[in-house]
Symmetry: C2
Subunit: 263 residues, 2 copies
């Protein structure tokens, strides 16, 4: 069943309420999915899931009536840790792929990061446009993957700005392929084994250009832990997807197995 997000800041959604989809979501439901009155869709508002019927179309906007609160639990859908993926600036199609796939894999925040070896730069005019475009991609990927939350795309930061703001994270990790060359692949598992439910992880990835030695030193000095993502060299856009998949496997799948004890 198709899922759409509804923004409501001051109160939760209730059964019986009428809601209007956003312009993009209305277009998707009415034109792409050819939605007819009476059709049921899933609505998510403030992490709560509801069922709603399409009842009207007003000036191109889809109007829905909420008829049931769903038993879906956001905690069962969202990763048990909050992962911020911070990436150096890659070409549009690569950074957009990262945001789309990382959203499917459970990312909570995306932090564009300006690094010295980036192959592209965002000037201040473009930065807001790029951020908006990535936010739309995250929105639609979150609907498609049935997330309970839309990952937030943060404003671009320089390395210094990122390090200054990194105190709030319980865990700060840097993916660094030199660790792979030393064969120390277990570092990542060590780091994951030290996380607790609900904690915030800031996980940093270079762009195609990689990281300079100065940057790596600055991350180390700021308390970041370095880790590799296995023995093969991953492209800039593959590394965050590998990382989130591994986090999901470790904390949602293998964890469950231990609980079930059905090995």
């Amino acid at each position: 069943m198709q899922q759409y997000f509804i923004q409501k800041k001051n109160s939760d959604l209730v059964v019986g309420e009428y809601v209007k989809l956003s312009h993009e979501d209305s277009h998707h439901l009415l034109n792409v999915m050819r939605g007819q009155n009476g059709q049921t869709v899933q609505i998510v508002c403030n992490g709560q899931h509801f069922l709603a019927n399409l009842v009207d179309t007003v000036e191109g906007y889809a109007v829905l009536k909420v008829f049931e609160k769903s038993s879906y639990d956001a905690n069962q859908i969202e990763l048990p840790v909050q992962v911020t993926i911070a990436c150096g600036l890659s070409k549009n199609e690569k950074i957009e792929m990262i945001v789309q796939k990382a959203t499917e894999c459970g990312m909570a925040y995306f932090q564009p990061l300006s690094l010295t070896r980036d192959v592209v730069k965002w000037d201040s005019k473009k930065a807001q446009q790029k951020q908006n475009r990535l936010q739309k991609i995250a929105h639609s990927a979150a609907e498609q993957s049935k997330r309970a939350l839309v990952p937030e795309i943060l404003s671009i930061k320089t390395l210094k700005e990122l390090l200054d703001s990194s105190l709030k994270y319980q865990h700060k990790w840097l993916a660094y392929e030199e660790i792979a060359k030393q064969g120390n692949h277990h570092y990542f598992a060590n780091l994951l084994s030290q996380t607790e439910m609900g904690e915030e992880i800031l996980f940093v990835f270079g762009s195609e250009g990689g990281l300079s030695e100065k940057e790596v030193a600055a991350f180390k000095a700021a308390g970041f832990k370095l880790c590799s993502l296995g023995p093969r060299i991953l492209r800039a856009e593959t590394a965050p997807i590998y990382a989130l998949s591994a986090i999901s496997y470790a904390l949602e799948i293998n964890f469950q197995e231990e609980n079930h004890g059905t090995k």
Copy 2:
């Protein structure tokens, strides 16, 4: 350092030998990388790594002289299990992305699979072209990710052909999102815990169109085990990447941690 594969069927490469890169690899080294005589690259032949210098260019082909056998061990680079990724037919850009990223993540074979709900069909004329194109993508992704082997793209199979040929695999798994709806995410970890080094896994994924109930029943009847890939719905092109990342994490990263005992 740039890596290229050399095909040699009847004997291994030896130090002192001269080798010629393929047409595509010569173009890459000479034109894309602007290689100069004397430049050192890594050569992989039959899973063995060597260092070689560019010494000449003959009719557009790069000629290299092998000067050192590298201490690189294929076993340290390749996944400890042989994973065949079998996928329903997706649009070109999606199936190409799967092959590229799955190569980075350690896939051994790619099996295109014709399923009833596929959004595209390969007619017999196109099938060979598509297979060749995917083989080139796997080749270049294997070089880029420093694999010891190039994953082989197999000829397209129908479901019946796949099931008939599936006896040789020790493990046959089907990614099926209905398992996710039941919350039984631990199935995947259970399956992985039953694998041994060197075993062959056939892991099947539907295309965007998904699997029909008849197909799922046929897989079950043929002894395939069903599993989900966590609680979020993944796109057709994301699921194999998630799966391989999780396999790598479980068998290369978390496994190492247990060995190191440095938790």
